[in-house]
Amino acid sequence: MSATTATPTRVITPDTLPPARGAWHEFWRRFRRNKRAVVSVFIILGVFASGIFTEELAPYCHTAQNLRAVDQAPSLAHPLGTDNLGRDLASRIIWGARTAVIVSVTVVVLNLLIGLPLGAVAGYYGGRIDSAIMRVADFLFAFPDLLFVLFIAATIRPSVIKYISDLGKSYGLKRGVNCAADYVAFADFIVVIAALSFVGWPGLARLVRGQFLQLREREFIESARATGARDLRIIFRHLLPNALPPIIVAISLGMGGAILAETSLSFLGIGIQPPNASWGSTIDDNYLFWRTRPEMIIVPGAVVAIVVLAFNFLGDGLNEALNPKTQ
């Protein structure tokens, strides 16, 4: 921090100042410099596009079996070939993007909904509320994470499935009518999302709490309090905007982490179950054929790796662009 002294010859008036640039402009100028992060944005947009416009993009339905074309090598009709059940691999990967998008977005939103208020309250009020919330977080941290997620998912799955199918029956829904209509398939999503958010929020709560602890001692908070601002106003108008940069970075990393966790669970056979498509279960389904048809594992594996990598690079780029300390 070098102190600048104004030269007496040059009077600073609003006209002589450089044109004011908004925070967004500054952010974009800094973000743009990181080429990896910019490329990552396009990759992530691509994943979201395949997650949203799945029906339009996928050449086949992900559950459709063509028993006349089982175990086929890549061809024009099936760009990545078919698996041992005659399902088009490319379509299953595109449908896997929908799974990844649904799970990662929901998990991150739930983590924010739980972790943000709890972390904010803990960091702002401190004292007993703080230690109570942090004890719960410590307790959840004490569990081995992947093991615990596996355990929760395996335990709650049957009851969720029963609940969903009862619910569907009571509304007279038919099962397996067309590609996306099997409502029982949602049970897998609920199980995975519930398990991941259950262990995911303490990390975010800790982050928010740490930020609030630092910020609440600053002068601008004191002055806000001196003007008689109420707690909620201080939290939402003064603390939260200042704590936002690391939270945004955590969101980006959290989406990558959620995709990684979902594919890991599905790979172990406890996440998204067949016939639903997930990149993890696609790898697991085809693992036995690694010797004869390595592309059946390498393509979904590479997709997971590239997408998770993109979220990490994006987080890295956001961190650089939002953190005034890095130049």
Binding site: F143, L146, L147, F151, S159, P294, P300
Partner: protein, 321 residues
């Protein structure tokens, strides 16, 4: 200091009790009765009820919980119900723990051995091309999942490279269905190769961040100004100050040693704790799951405490009330 340790130790049983209660509740009230799994789908309800009674599953939750805790305190973690009927859970874990610990210790050692120097180099050459390359590698290592890399490695090592086959070392190289010949055999090569990059990345990232912060401090400028050799400035002055977060990571890494590498063990068919747990989960063999969870939580809490105490030795300024 003593008061602090006592206070932390006070939390110890409470945390363990909570972990046990939650795990037992999940195991017992999650549907898919172990007795049902044990007898198969088409078993008659009477037999299921008899087995449930035999295993004590029909008793109220608090009775089962306190019986379990009373037994566990005496070192009896009950017997496996479904997967390895009649075998003691402690025996099952004891047989697999060395495998998991040795494999993870190897990965952790590689992580420190490569990660710390990489982080040092990265920090000293901050924002130069070498730093960018290392950072790129580090982020990739964290992001790329084990199950995506291992088939690729298998494809290269076992299919494309002709010299690296089953016969090269006279043993398998950890390909499914797998064989495990210990950590100093060829069967550890691929598992260590997929497991260690994560550790390397964590250590490199933390060393880099800590070193960049430390190198920007005033005392570093002083050390340089008095004409100290750069290597001494980096190693003796800056590195010591960057050490604290590294100790935390090392401590938590040690906790990870027992938890095992669930995916790596599954992929390569390594008979460790991770594989035991996944098998137990599929079979709803809750005594095994319970014991593994409690063990990992116990080790995690213990190492967290040890790490916090170790801080005071590394940095005498840190004091606990």
């Amino acid at each position: 200091m003593t008061a602090y340790i006592v206070r932390r130790l006070f939390w110890y049983p409470i945390l363990l009790f909570a972990v046990t209660t939650v795990t037992l509740a999940l195991g017992l009230y999650g549907p898919g009765d172990p007795a049902q799994v044990y007898l198969g789908k088409h078993s008659d309800p009477e037999t299921v009820a008899r087995i449930r009674a035999e295993w004590g599953l029909d008793q109220p939750f608090q009775v089962q919980l306190f019986k379990y805790i009373a037994d566990a305190v005496q070192g009896d973690f009950h017997e496996s119900l479904v997967k390895y009927p009649g075998q003691k859970v402690t025996d099952l874990i004891a047989a697999r723990l060395p495998v998991t610990v040795s494999l993870n210790a190897l990965a952790l050692a590689l992580g420190v051995l490569f990660g710390v120097p990489l982080g040092l180099v990265s920090a000293v050459r901050h924002n130069r091309s070498l730093d960018h390359i290392i950072t790129f590698g580090v982020i990739s290592a964290v992001a790329i999942p084990v199950f995506a890399v291992s088939p690729f490695l298998q494809w290269i090592f076992a299919r494309e490279l002709p010299f690296w086959t089953r016969d090269t070392f006279g043993v398998t190289i950890g390909l499914p269905p797998g064989g495990w010949n210990g950590v100093f055999s060829a069967s550890a090569v691929l598992p260590a190769m997929v497991l260690s990059p994560g550790y390397v990345a964590v250590f490199a990232r933390q060393t880099r961040a800590g070193m960049i912060e430390a190198l920007a401090q005033d005392f570093i400028r002083t050390a340089r100004a008095k004409g100290l050799v750069e290597s001494l400035v980096v190693m003796r002055h800056a590195f010591r100050n960057a050490l604290i977060p590294l100790v935390t990571i090392f401590g938590l890494g040690l906790a990870g040693l027992v938890g095992g590498a669930i995916i790596t063990e599954t992929v390569f068919g390594i008979p460790g704790i991770g594989l035991l747990t996944v098998d137990a989960l599929h079979a709803r063999d809750y005594p095994i799951i319970l014991a593994v969870t409690i063990m990992v939580a116990f080790v995690y809490i213990t190492l967290n405490l040890i790490v916090d105490i170790a801080y005071t030795f590394i940095d005498p300024r840190i004091r606990y009330q």
